[in-house]
Symmetry: C2
Subunit: 416 residues, 2 copies
């Protein structure tokens, strides 16, 4: 059987589960999620043995990669806990925000419904297998899971445990599909099956996401880079600005919502830049400044044009002095990735203008960009952070895994 036929068979099984899963009651879904959590903990022996096979094959990978790949009892418990948390979240399916009544008496409601078959493509961390399966199940979407080749045995074992537990709890067969082959052609074949799959969510490096977006005939919810900025305005509270800059850069530099460029208002640059530079350099941050910044803090390296576009994901920060709010907004809209950007200011008009003028998924006043996250936003869980403009923007929780349909309650109305 060719790769296309194999993937078509798998996608069709997911597709067949769509109507049953879309209308499955919340109580069955929640019981299944808890059964899946219990099954992961009960199956720890199988999971750790499978993980050992991946680890044995992982020689030559970086220690960071090996660490991400490694399962432990604590990590299995944490995956299970994630599923239990999803079980207690409200079910978005069937919710209607409002029903309005037309002059002819028609009552029209906008009802949340599952998107359909979700293809999740991810790398490395095996917990994504459980997270994605749980979120898709709760939101009524059959999922097709395609993990990285380095964790194939671990992911396969997790998916097997989850699938059996879900089926035993009454979830329609086919609702969770795992791609057992590591052949790269599998992804190429899957993203052309627009009649079976409704959305693709790739989570991984920029190269992976871009390659999938280019080839896919199915809508892709992209998770691309976060070139996030903090603009320290002339009126900023100095201590607050220092704390926010420190947090946004240092607390976890390797993630998409960490600050990559600091913009400082020229009026306070002479006093603020030395202070923020001292604090960040003490935390091990390498600073790359514009010419005006380097006249004030001579320890900075010279930034090039490329630095304004850079997502370092590391203890490196680009620094630029700007003449005012409008220059800051222009810089962010030009060089940024429209992910998360912050202003630190005590000036009401500047705050409102920044919120309006910065064209990003999340815009902050007086807070760290690190809060861009489904849990921090109160969604209870997240499947990722979208950099698309349409459908879902920013943190994606259960709500963003649904779409809507209109339901219309009539009493015999016809159009005149």
């Amino acid at each position: 059987m060719g790769m296309r036929d194999e993937m078509l068979g798998l996608a069709r099984r997911a597709r067949q589960a769509r109507p049953g899963l879309a209308t499955l009651s919340r109580s069955v879904k929640d019981k299944a999620l808890i059964a899946m959590a219990d099954a992961l903990v009960a199956g720890r022996g199988v999971l750790l043995a499978a993980n050992k096979r991946d680890l044995d094959a992982a020689r030559g990978l970086s220690s960071a990669m090996v660490d991400r790949l490694t399962l432990t009892d604590a990590r299995i418990e944490s995956m299970a806990e994630g599923l239990r948390q999803v079980a207690v979240l409200p079910d978005p399916v069937g919710e209607m925000e409002r029903v309005w009544v037309r002059p002819n008496g028609l009552r029209i409601g906008k009802m949340r419904v599952p998107i359909g078959v979700v293809l999740v493509i991810y790398e490395s961390r095996p917990n994504v297998t459980a997270d994605a399966a749980g979120l898709c199940l709760k939101s009524g979407n059959p999922c097709i899971l395609r993990g990285g080749s380095e964790s194939i045995h671990t992911n396969s074992a997790i998916a097997g445990v989850l699938t059996r537990a879900a089926a035993a709890a009454g979830v329609p067969e086919g609702a969770i599909q795992f791609v057992e082959t590591t052949d790269r052609e599998a992804v190429g074949a899957l993203v052309e099956l627009e009649d079976c799959i409704d959305v693709v969510i790739p989570r991984g490096g920029k190269g992976l996401v871009k390659a999938i977006a280019e080839r896919s005939r199915i809508p892709v919810i992209k998770h691309l880079d976060g070139v996030c900025h903090t603009f320290v305005d002339a009126s900023a509270d100095r201590e607050m600005a220092l704390a926010i800059c420190h947090n946004a850069k240092v607390q976890r530099p390797g993630v998409c919502n960490a600050m990559e460029t600091l913009l400082v208002h020229a009026e306070i640059a002479e006093s603020f830049l030395p202070a923020v530079a001292a604090d960040l350099e003490a935390a091990g941050v390498e600073l790359r400044g514009c010419e005006r910044s380097r006249e004030i803090v001579s320890s900075m390296k010279a930034a090039t044009e490329d630095d304004w576009y850079a997502e370092y994901l590391d203890l490196i920060l680009a620094v630029r002095v700007v003449d005012g709010l409008e220059e800051a907004i222009d810089h962010i809209n030009r060089y940024g990735s429209a992910h998360s950007d912050a202003i630190v200011t005590e000036d009401y008009s500047a705050a409102m203008r920044f919120l309006e003028g910065v064209d990003s998924a999340v815009v902050y006043v007086n807070a760290s960009t690190r809060f861009t996250d489904g849990f921090e936003f109160g969604f209870g869980a997240e499947i990722g952070i979208s950099t698309n403009r349409l459908h879902a923007r920013g943190p994606m929780g259960l709500f963003e895994l649904t779409t809507y349909k209109y339901v219309v309650f009539g009493s015999g109305q016809v159009r005149g």
Copy 2:
């Protein structure tokens, strides 16, 4: 200059208008819309002269095509009235449905913002030029308008009048771009400019829409077919069912929300089918029935498998007897286009099950499918009816021409 460069220049001008238009005040937008309406009426001499050039070139087109293409004083007034109606609609930009407060004090709001540059590709009717320009302007989106070659002079004249009136009223230059060339390559070049254009809305035949969707690197909001069903349940009110069937099929058969297939519950088929057949045949409808239908109404032609998939857009109706609700739902989900489908029933459980089980953009109980329309839904206007599952589904008004961003009001919060 090559076609790609020419289109890139045009798209860049639209893109440059994006920040200014996104933050333009409602009062300026509304005054501009009224000025545009007045300019159309004042410019009727220019518009009719341009239209005459298109009509002179239209020899050989069908009389229906020529009719759609023809401008008259009344049609110019109707375009102007459309713009005035958009002016009085609420502006969705900046609206927040709710703001929630996190335990750490962060206030998070989901704010409606324009999508960005909208490329509208359409055929024939020149009023789309004014409708699309008005809706995009009100929702803060620069637009690129590409009309059909048969109405190029008319569309160009309308766009010229609108662009000048908008600019004089304070709308940023570049906000309304019209593609003056009729070269087919222009569309191919435009849909590859994903750095300048944010969404493509094609309105026209299925062939046009599919070709654009296949080639586009930009998200496409498709307007594909409406294979709409009415299911007459065993418990239906007979007179209501007859009235709804008549309206859904006969009132305007050439549109996407007209009924194309009638499903009748077997229990009432013997009494209901002769009545509905008599009514529809008297209205000139050709009936194509399944075998069981034809045993009851012998005047029906035999339906083939293709008829269940057909969007006739004409006085033709496919008819099928089903054994019950579940068979009706299965038929609709299998053969339909997930556009608009209705049940006629007095049975509460059947109504609720139909609403839940039918996977369409609009699902009706006891009403004609003909209501799927932005005006009928109370949106005040529509740019079309989406057949996508994501972002916008069903009728699209001003709200659906926006997306959102999160705005976060902090007081110095950092992540722990």
